[in-house]
Point group: C2
Chain length 228, copies 2
């Protein structure tokens, strides 16, 4: 009954220091989430056993199951973390009062940077989508996944918002806003499928990817062409 899985730990209030920040959140779960993200990214959901995650932590199953009721819930938490990263990046930008075209540009750049920066989490998000397309066995898990997908749709909605605003002002052009947002995000997400971290400071290489794919995304919905 008195189970850490349900108690929202207080992290000993006042001990904000020592937070390596690499994986924030409530200490305890944080390290597990980070390790799981790496494992899921490298081997995929099914091929990753709880023992694998534990090994990476230098621990055993006991530690993981102390915080998570099941493997699926651990996965969900990693997914949520990934979406949280994305949402916390984009939402402030949407609130700015930039012109639609510039606002979308900033959003696109930020999104691609997130893809490259937090690769493991983003790959987990992709796996979550695949998992949803497939039938995650139990109905209970389907509901959970459905909730996560709502988060994703909400994220997509932020882009749709700016797109529609831009269309009204004549800077964008498309017939179906939902399709447009999907197309834009499809481009921006693409690097997740092939990007790999390099040694040294490949900052310039990353920025090239950011600029290039942002350019494609903006072009795809730009007004002035003769399509749609």
């Amino acid at each position: 009954m008195s189970d850490a899985r349900s108690t929202s730990r207080s992290t000993r209030s006042g001990d904000m220091a020592g937070q390596m920040a690499q994986a924030a959140g409530d200490s305890g779960r944080g390290a597990i989430i980070a390790a799981a993200a790496d494992c899921f990214m490298e081997a995929g959901y099914d091929a990753t056993s709880i023992d694998t995650v534990a090994d990476r932590l230098g621990a055993t199953k006991g530690r993981v199951y102390h915080y998570y009721r099941s493997k699926a819930e651990l996965f969900y938490d990693v997914y949520r973390r990934g979406m949280a990263i994305n949402l916390s990046t984009i939402e402030p930008i949407v609130k700015n009062d930039l012109a639609p075209r510039e606002k979308l540009a900033v959003m696109c750049r930020a999104h691609v940077r997130n893809m490259l920066e937090h690769l493991s989490y983003q790959r987990v998000v992709m796996q979550g989508v695949e998992m949803h397309l497939a039938g995650s066995t139990t109905p209970a898990q389907r509901e959970k996944l459905a909730l996560l997908m709502k988060e994703r749709e909400r994220y997509e909605g932020l882009f749709r918002l700016v797109l529609v605003e831009g269309r009204d002002q004549g800077v964008f052009h498309f017939s179906n806003a939902s399709f447009a947002s999907k197309a834009v995000l499809a481009i921006l997400n693409n690097p997740v499928l092939w990007y790999r971290r390099r040694r040294g400071d490949e900052k310039t290489a990353r920025e090239e990817i950011v600029e290039t794919f942002t350019g494609f995304a903006l072009n795809s919905v730009a007004a002035g062409a003769n399509s749609n």
Copy 2:
């Protein structure tokens, strides 16, 4: 030694009739491939057991293992079939002597139609990419997967070819041809992630998707904008 797994069956020369055509190829494997494609699409690779595939065939494991040495090889064959469908559709178009812009348009439309028409196979192709990103355990399987990825790259190369040709003529604009082809295909593949077959004649709905996403793809690399 005398194993059906290695002998290229002759299909009893002269018996070309009775080919339901729904799943061509050498009779025997054909039905298995089709059933496997459906299963993989509905439940994903790991969640699909050989027994699941056999059940759908109204048969047992014995039949599947008679033609395939392992579950992985069955998957590879489904993947190959999917890529074969795509290649056989696009290659003739590339050989035509259309102007780059029109040629690309035709290619895009054909590609999206394939996505919608052969959904199960295309989803398997996507899973193959994910599988390659993850680490398919044994080195032997990694090699096999690497070969399949070469096929995919070759397919992408067909698009790259037309894109470069168009850039030389000034109708397309981009700095990195590889990135451009990835962006275009990212858009065109997107419907696979959410499209579902409907009842009745949804031909018009499908064609709307085809036209819309083709439009986005063409726009993304169109010359005339101020990006890149």
